[in-house]
Each structure stands twice: as structure tokens, then as C-alpha cells.
């Protein structure tokens, strides 16, 4: 559906329109729920784009997350924070069903993306994942050239024209703050890049499919402060058009980039609210302890 766009800007206006339509359809059912978290800034996208209802995820008999009920709102950044092993990645990876690849997993409850129960039998996983992109915790470039890495998604969507691909690759690399470093040799193997460069390549690769929702699992954990700054700028830029869910261990980062923050602990959602509220005036003792570093 997004193949024929020629640039990020164009895609922006188009997506805005889509969201407008979406609002009309979904407003009625969602209004009551989103009232508590209604934000003036994102008033035009007041309905949730991802919605978990009593969602639980199990790896065999191990619980990954339990009874998560939360909504992610479009055109905003939602941060997920919490101690290691509390199920942040599990929840994030459930949103585009990439956890399906792990054997013996099981879910309970529902997870709606754009109003559709994505764990229902007839879910088009290809379309889901093209529209809900992901950046993984560990950089995972393909053992191909930089160009082929980024062109992978667009090629799957049927873009084969060289000039078009070239343009997508350039735009995506620029957006991920990697263009200047690699523009001279796009044919170089992606594996020859440094860890931080690989991570930015993966971000560029995810952007190249023009997703509507971007899931980022600690995208900056392998990056130096400069690259981190660039990625945060990128998130800032993208959030007017994309919906971003970002897992981070960096409290300042969550405070800087996100509108809303969810605090997970031991597989449960402890608190979910506007970021300033979470950081200045958390409603729960657990949240406060974690944020102030008295956790444990």
C-alpha cells in the first residue's frame, strides 16, 4: 500500500489522512477508554493504535508478561521501562508477532492493532509486519551489502526499480544518521560495520519499509552518546508521523523522547501514564523506587 510513495514527506501527509479516517471509524468505541490519557498535543489521533487487553504471554510454562492492559496512541512515543527480565522485550515482540518463531509459546487475552485482533486465526502476518516494523535489541544485519540490507524490505514489497531503491536507501540511511559514514561504499558488507553502525543500519532497514508503527528494543544500547543523540533526534522527527514504542534502560532517554511511559516489573504493568507524571509524580511506590534507583 505504501510502495508508490516517493518520499518521507509525502508519506507523512498520506498517513495523516489515513489516521483521520481511522479516527472516524474508531472514535465511538474508543472514546471512553482513552479519556483518562487524552493529550492535547495528539488530539488529532486520540484513539489507540495498539491496544492490549489482559494480554499474557508464556514461554512454555515460564511467564513472559501477565495481564497487560494498555493502549499505545498514534503519532506519539511510548517508552517501556523496567528492570531486566521483566518482559519488556516480550511485550514489544508480541506486537508484531515476531515471538511466533519461538516454539511452545502461548498467549492469553487480546492484542489489537488498529482495531484488529492480531492473534486471531486469519491475520495477514506479512501486512502486519510491514506496517509494524521492528528494531531488535541486538543488531542483526543480513550478511549482504549495506544497500541490499536496506533494499530488502522494499524489494519484498515489489519495488525493483534501481533508481527508486537507490532513493529509498539514501533516505533511510539519512534518517538513521548513517548516510555520511557509508555513502561512499554502499556495496560494502554490512558485517564490516561497527556495532553501533550496524544498529543504525537496522533502524534504516526498518524505516525503509515505511511502517506505521515502529517498535524499538533498546535501539541505543550499543551506541555512543553522539549516535544516541542522533537517534533521539530521529525519534523526535518521526513521532509526528509514526507511532513509536521504545524499550529503554536509560531513564533520561525515556524522559527525553517519550510522551507516555509504561513501567513493567516482573511481567506486569505496574504503571502507565504521561512521562512527566511518571518521572515527577509516580502513582505507585514501586515505580518511584525504580526511577529513583532504590529498586530491589
Amino acid at each position: 500500500m505504501q510502495n508508490n510513495k516517493s518520499g518521507v514527506l509525502e508519506s507523512v501527509s498520506r498517513r495523516r489522512k489515513n489516521k483521520g479516517k481511522l479516527n472516524l471509524i474508531m472514535d465511538r468505541q474508543k472514546q471512553s477508554k482513552s479519556e483518562s490519557l487524552n493529550n492535547k498535543d495528539t488530539a488529532e489521533c486520540a484513539c489507540s493504535i495498539v491496544e492490549a487487553e489482559d494480554f499474557s504471554f508464556y514461554y512454555g510454562s515460564t511467564m513472559g508478561v501477565k495481564n497487560i492492559t494498555m493502549e499505545v496512541f498514534p503519532c506519539s512515543v511510548t517508552a517501556i521501562i523496567g528492570p531486566s527480565g521483566c518482559g519488556k522485550s516480550t511485550f514489544l515482540r508480541a506486537i508484531n508477532r515476531i515471538n511466533d518463531l519461538i516454539p511452545n509459546t502461548r498467549i492469553e487475552g487480546t492484542l489489537l492493532v488498529n482495531g484488529h485482533d492480531i492473534y486471531a486465526k486469519k491475520t495477514n502476518l506479512v501486512n502486519l509486519r510491514q506496517q509494524v516494523g521492528m528494531v531488535f535489541q541486538k543488531p542483526n544485519p543480513f550478511p549482504k551489502s549495506i544497500f541490499d540490507n536496506i533494499a530488502y524490505g522494499p524489494r519484498l514489497q515489489g519495488t525493483t526499480k534501481g533508481s527508486k531503491l537507490q532513493q529509498i536507501v539514501e533516505e533511510s540511511l539519512k534518517a538513521a544518521a548513517l548516510w555520511e559514514e557509508v555513502k561512499d561504499d554502499l556495496r560494502k558488507s554490512a558485517l564490516a560495520l561497527s556495532g553501533g553502525q550496524q544498529q543504525r543500519l537496522c533502524i534504516a532497514r526498518a524505516l525503509a519499509t515505511r511502517p506505521s508503527v515502529l517498535l524499538m528494543d533498546e535501539p541505543c544500547s550499543a551506541l555512543d552518546p553522539i549516535a544516541t543523540g542522533k537517534i533521539e533526534d530521529l525519534i523526535e522527527q518521526l513521532k509526528s508521523d509514526y507511532t513509536i514504542v521504545i524499550v529503554t534502560h536509560n531513564m533520561q532517554q525515556a524522559a527525553r523522547v517519550s510522551e507516555r511511559t509504561a513501567f513493567f516489573c516482573l511481567g506486569e504493568l505496574i504503571e502507565y501514564d504521561f512521562t512527566p507524571k511518571i518521572f515527577r509524580n509516580p502513582g505507585k511506590k514501586q515505580t518511584e523506587d525504580y526511577i529513583t534507583g532504590r529498586f530491589g
Binding site: 508484531n96 510491514q130 531488535f136 530488502y152 524490505g153 519484498l156
Partner: protein, 324 residues
């Protein structure tokens, strides 16, 4: 923490008191141990290398007199192999061709099946089925080749003759089908190992960009594992080239190049079968005897070079994985 120090941390800052130099003066025991260890390992390595070199040397020594009698070009280009005739001919081309025929035909059958099975096992079936099926496939390697030979002669040969009307049931096709089955466990096992060794990360990356399973397998998994897959093919090929008993029983043993050349329903004879079949009844120190050793050298060179190539690809596969 208050006051009492943990055992783990007691005296750590000043505890750097074990010698850091591995010299006889500072640490005699450690020095001798490391020296001894290296010497033993060196000796063991030497033994196996020596064994290989000795085999090479011995086979070459027995083959050398042959070269003074018959020119190398006649040996490699002539197709007439009549070692016992009055006017003996030692053209090995038909035998070389026989080996190449059955090997390539075996690969044509076993490579697609082997790679697809490997992908099927690693990417498609559930973990439980894989844990059951892979050992079964590897078990194929444990069946003695005589048993395969029996099957070829008693089951496959009559079936081919009746079903397709071939003039003989023991022919190149028969031998290569059996060889294909024998090469399968190697190919499946090595290819599956290298495909599984890729780990879930690349697959997750591919699926997260909206790829289907088919696209993921053919655009990411197989290209990423290609070094290991090539090594698997070469190892399977070595199995086919070196195999003796099965081709001796199943190929028909006619020292001829099929005419037309693509007709694999005709009998052929391989280098290995010739050596095994004729060595027993050939008197020592005769041109025939030396000729068989020359065939042996040829075979050694062939398998050695295949081995080197497969090593190259296997190490490349490892390096490619290490870089991730």
C-alpha cells in the same frame, strides 16, 4: 557489607602475588607442564600427518615405475583399459569418466533433496519432529555399504530392468541412485548444522520486514549459510567419489564411456571399483600392478583437492558467523 569484608574481595587489591612470567626461574612447575603439553600435542599431530604422508609416499612410489613405461597423456586420454591383453592398453579415461558419471549423477539427485531436507528440518518442522528425524537420517550413514550393494543388485536392478526395459539393471543410474542415498546423511547433516547455526536473529530480521517463510528461506537463510551448504555438498561428493563396494556391485563394471554420453542406463566402471576388483589377482611388479597404483594416485589427488576446497568453505562459513 558493613565492616565485614566478603571472602571474594578480601585482599584483592594487594593480592597480585602469583608469578606472571612463565620462566623456569619463577614458575618451574607451570613451565614444565606447558612445555610437556606442547610436546605431546606436537607428537600426536605429527603421527597423523605422518600417516597421511606415508600413504601418499607409498602409493606414489608404486605408481612411479608406471610413468616410465606409459606416457601420462596416454593414461589420461585413452579410453581403452585392457591391462591383461597381450598388447596391454592402460587408458584410464573411461574409468575416470565412470567415476565422474556416477558422482555427478548422484549429486544431481542428492543435492536438491539434501538441501531441501536440511531447510525443512531447520526451518519448517517443529523442534520435536526434527529431534526425531535428524538422527534417523544420520543413521543412514551407519548402514554398511555391502548392504546398500545387495539392495542395488537384488531389488533396484531387476526393478529397473522390468520397469524401464534397460538392457542391464546394474548401470550408472543404479549406482548413482544408491550413492545419492549414501551421500544424503552427510549433506543433510552438515547443511542442517550450518543452517541452524545461523540462529534466530537473521530470520527475525527477515520476518519483521514482512517476508514470508519462503522468502526468508531463499533470500536470507540459504544465502547466509551458503558456505556451509557448499561444504556439505563437497563432503557428500567425497563420499560418492571414494565409495567402492556399492559401485562395484551396482555399476555393471564395463570400462566404457556411454554412447550417447548422457545415457546413464548403460554400465560404467569407476576408478575405485577397478582398483578393488583387479588388485587381488594382479601379480606384483607388473605394468598392470603399477597402473592400479597410478589410478590410486589419481583418486588421492581428487579427494585431497575436494577436501581442501571443503575446508576452505567451512572455514569461510565459520568466519561469516563469527563476524555477526
Amino acid at each position: 557489607m558493613n565492616g565485614t569484608k566478603l571472602i571474594l574481595t578480601r585482599g584483592q587489591a594487594t593480592g597480585l602475588n602469583r608469578p606472571l612470567a612463565l620462566t623456569p626461574g619463577q614458575d618451574l612447575k607451570g613451565y614444565v607442564a606447558s612445555l610437556l603439553g606442547r610436546a605431546v600435542l606436537f607428537l600426536i599431530t605429527c603421527t597423523s600427518v605422518l600417516a597421511v604422508l606415508l600413504i601418499f609416499f607409498f602409493v606414489c612410489r608404486e605408481a612411479l615405475p608406471f610413468l616410465s613405461k606409459i606416457s601420462l597423456s596416454e593414461f589420461l586420454i585413452n579410453t581403452e583399459w585392457y591391462p591383461e591383453a597381450d598388447n596391454a592398453r592402460f587408458g584410464a579415461l573411461a574409468l575416470i569418466a565412470g567415476s565422474v558419471y556416477v558422482t555427478i549423477a548422484a549429486l544431481v539427485f542428492s543435492v536438491p533433496v539434501g538441501i531441501l531436507s536440511a531447510v525443512f528440518l531447520s526451518d519448517i518442522v517443529s523442534f520435536r519432529i526434527r529431534a526425531f528425524v535428524k538422527p534417523v537420517i544420520e543413521l543412514l550413514a551407519a548402514i554398511p555399504s555391502v548392504a546398500y550393494g545387495f539392495f542395488a543388485v537384488l531389488v533396484l536392478a531387476p526393478w529397473m530392468q522390468n520397469k524401464f526395459g534397460f538392457s542391464t539393471g546394474t548401470n550408472a543410474l543404479n549406482a548413482s541412485l544408491i550413492l545419492a542415498v549414501m551421500a544424503l546423511p552427510t549433506i543433510v547433516s552438515v547443511a542442517e548444522d550450518s543452517i541452524s547455526a545461523l540462529g534466530p536473529e537473521l530470520r527475525e530480521a527477515s520476518y519483521s520486514l514482512g517476508a514470508t517463510r519462503f522468502e526468508t528461506i531463499f533470500r536470507v537463510v540459504i544465502p547466509a549459510a551458503h558456505s556451509g551448504i557448499i561444504a556439505a555438498i563437497i563432503l557428500g561428493m567425497m563420499r560418492a567419489v571414494g565409495e567402492t563396494m556399492v559401485v562395484w556391485m551396482a555399476s555393471g563394471n564395463a570400462a566404457q564411456i556411454p554412447r550417447p554420453w548422457w545415457d546413464i542406463s548403460q554400465s560404467v566402471r569407476t576408478i575405485t571399483a577397478t582398483i578393488a576388483g583387479e588388485m587381488g589377482e594382479t601379480p606384483k611388479e607388473t605394468p598392470h600392478y603399477w597402473a592400479l597404483f597410478a589410478l590410486g594416485v589419481l583418486l588421492l589427488i581428487l579427494t585431497f583437492s575436494l577436501n581442501v576446497v571443503s575446508e576452505f568453505f567451512l572455514s569461510r562459513a565459520k568466519r561469516a558467523l563469527g563476524k555477526q
